[in-house]
Symmetry: C2
Subunit: 347 residues, 2 copies
DNA sequence: CTGAAAGCGCTTACAG
DNA sequence: CTGAAAGCGCTTACAG
């Protein structure tokens, strides 16, 4: 345990005042060159490491961002975190990560902890904002950006409260289904989570409907099947669909996880993908490219969602104005239809 | 921007000294009950949030752990991070996450940053420790735990320097191959990364060999195929294997990623898994259960690796003794052989 | 059991 | 351009 070197030690060795040493540390312009050099030499000689705790106490800025994450284990979020991370690093910020697993208590505690640790801003990732969580975030009185987060309560100005990053669900669904229509499918079923979900299911159903109608296919609510956001539920629901007297030739799925479960049901029944049934997923999780046959999907720009979100946040931290921005990112079709597709094209 | 409430304000409202307010905050026992209540009431009334930056400056403990991570996007690591997170939370610690992407510069910077932010300890996750990184970690002069990390340099006491969490590679490979032998396979190939890799490839090859010999099968180095740690390389290498005049009936793969690439090659050639060729992977990444047919694999106890690592670290932070511990965790066989297996058994 | 005071390691007006 | 001093919001011996 060597004694910790502080600025006072540096200043003494360099033969300057402690304030001057501090100015060198902070790259303050008004320091004579020769003085700067003396101080830098002393720092090197003593192997000085600045204490950011002390600096933060004075400067009121920790250069730290809190990231509240509803679920880490899903590859979906880890890419977003990667985007956040890289951008934060670029701007000299560090990240407090808290994986709250959807428990409201843990989320509230997490926000509290971040307030106590004096983060400069918070990114809230995924999940749904309850009124209580929103209030806690407002109390924190620091910039907040929501990424891929919905709300489950009504309040006129909800969208005005925090900046946000989201995807264009309706257009994405429209494009996915248009693609299937172009492949000449006439009977296209949709697998979705709860039809009442305003944040994503409803706009996607709307896009699905719009694409059908634009292609002269009548919308039929009986072809919109509800299931859970899980592999197993996709599997079971697809089994039911396969028993239909007149089964669809194509499936548009709310998520890749559901699409994968459905694919298992299809392959297990002896049918082929895409020869007998085409399927388009949503999210572009890793498994869709490693699956055989690889699954076509709507690719959410996850990395960009993270990095753009971080950029918004940093801008809000620096501009006290506090204009809230709402960014809607496009989703792109990732075609992986053919089992004979070259592996390099897949990945 | 309401004025920030500090302990002084609380003390004034409660009619006590600031030291007493601090003692209440820290749950110090020697405070009269009625005093404590007055202070707690004042805190509530003012909606007081302690400033942990100031507390840390005095107390020399930030209750913060730095996690240096070589690669986040892989689901492999996110489960470990989840284990770290949960355990950290349990003990009241927060996590600085830094995703360094294998760049040595970024790793060194990251360690530097964590020193400046005064983390109480560091967890280093995955990758390989170079001598320079090891020295930088030693300079930090705080507890460090390595999880699933190898070294690429020789130094007698390397393993004595930091505590570590690793898996039992040799036994894992032994069990995987024993399983294939029990299925009556006589010609079992191995797909591995660089045979010279001391940290994992060599012990796994040793386990593979031991299992073969125990089952009366002669070890044949020609059946150990080198490839890269990638889907594509697994695919290409398997294509070569399939062209062999006498092809193996089973494959033991160094990783799931390689196994998945190999599986694509097998299925694409018109052969079936497991009827024509059995395959056992390693890691238990998510895709192995969603693949069709689901892939049998050696399951690394990722969550436990994270939580045990965090426990080791916290113990080292509290005990100044600093006994280094080296935990070797077992890997378990996750059988997913049959395409007709019930979905609930798979997941 | 409690208050006053020193101090954690910095930054930043304020003089000069 | 630079030094001395006050202060960031706490904690913790030290008296009492």
């Amino acid at each position: 345990m060597s004694k910790i070197v502080k600025l006072k030690d540096v200043a003494k060795l360099a033969g300057v005042g402690i304030g001057t040493a501090s100015r060198v540390l902070n790259e303050h312009p008004n320091v004579k060159d020769s003085t700067r050099r003396k101080v830098l030499d002393a720092m090197r000689e003593l192997n000085y490491t600045p204490n950011n705790i002390a600096r933060s106490l004075k400067s009121k800025s920790t250069r730290t961002i809190g990231v509240i994450l509803i679920e880490l284990s899903s590859a979906f979020y880890s890419d977003i975190v990667e985007g956040i991370e890289d951008t934060a690093n670029e701007y000299g910020y560090s990240i407090f990560l808290n994986n709250t697993r959807k428990y409201e208590d843990r989320i509230l505690e997490s926000i509290q902890m971040m307030c106590e640790k004096k983060v400069d801003g918070i990114i809230y990732l995924g999940g749904t904002l309850t009124e209580e969580i929103q209030n806690k975030l407002l109390d924190a009185n620091i910039p907040v950006v929501l990424i891929s987060t919905g709300t489950n309560f009504k309040r006129k100005d909800t969208t005005e409260v925090f900046s946000s990053i989201n995807i264009d669900n309706e257009t994405a669904a429209f494009e996915a289904v248009t693609y299937l229509c172009e492949l000449k499918h006439k009977k296209i079923a949709m697998l979705t989570i709860n039809k009442d979900d305003k944040n994503s299911a409803m706009p996607r159903i709307k896009g699905y409907r719009r694409a059908l109608e634009k292609n002269g296919i009548e919308f039929n609510d009986d072809l919109v099947f509800e299931c859970e956001q899980s592999y197993q539920s996709g599997y079971e629901t697809m089994q039911k669909i396969l028993k239909l007297e007149e089964r669809p030739t194509a499936i548009f799925s709310y998520s890749d996880l559901i699409a994968l479960g459905a694919s298992r049901a299809i392959l297990q029944s002896g049918l082929r993908i895409p020869e007998d049934i085409s399927i388009v997923g949503f999210d572009d999780i890793e498994t869709t490219k490693y699956f055989y046959p690889a699954i076509t999907t709507m690719r959410q720009p996850r990395y960009v969602m993270g990095s753009r979100g971080m950029e918004l946040l940093i801008r809000e931290i620096n501009d006290k104005e506090g204009f809230k921005q709402h960014v809607i990112l496009p989703v792109t079709l990732q075609i992986r239809e053919s089992t004979s597709q070259k592996i390099k094209d897949l990945i």
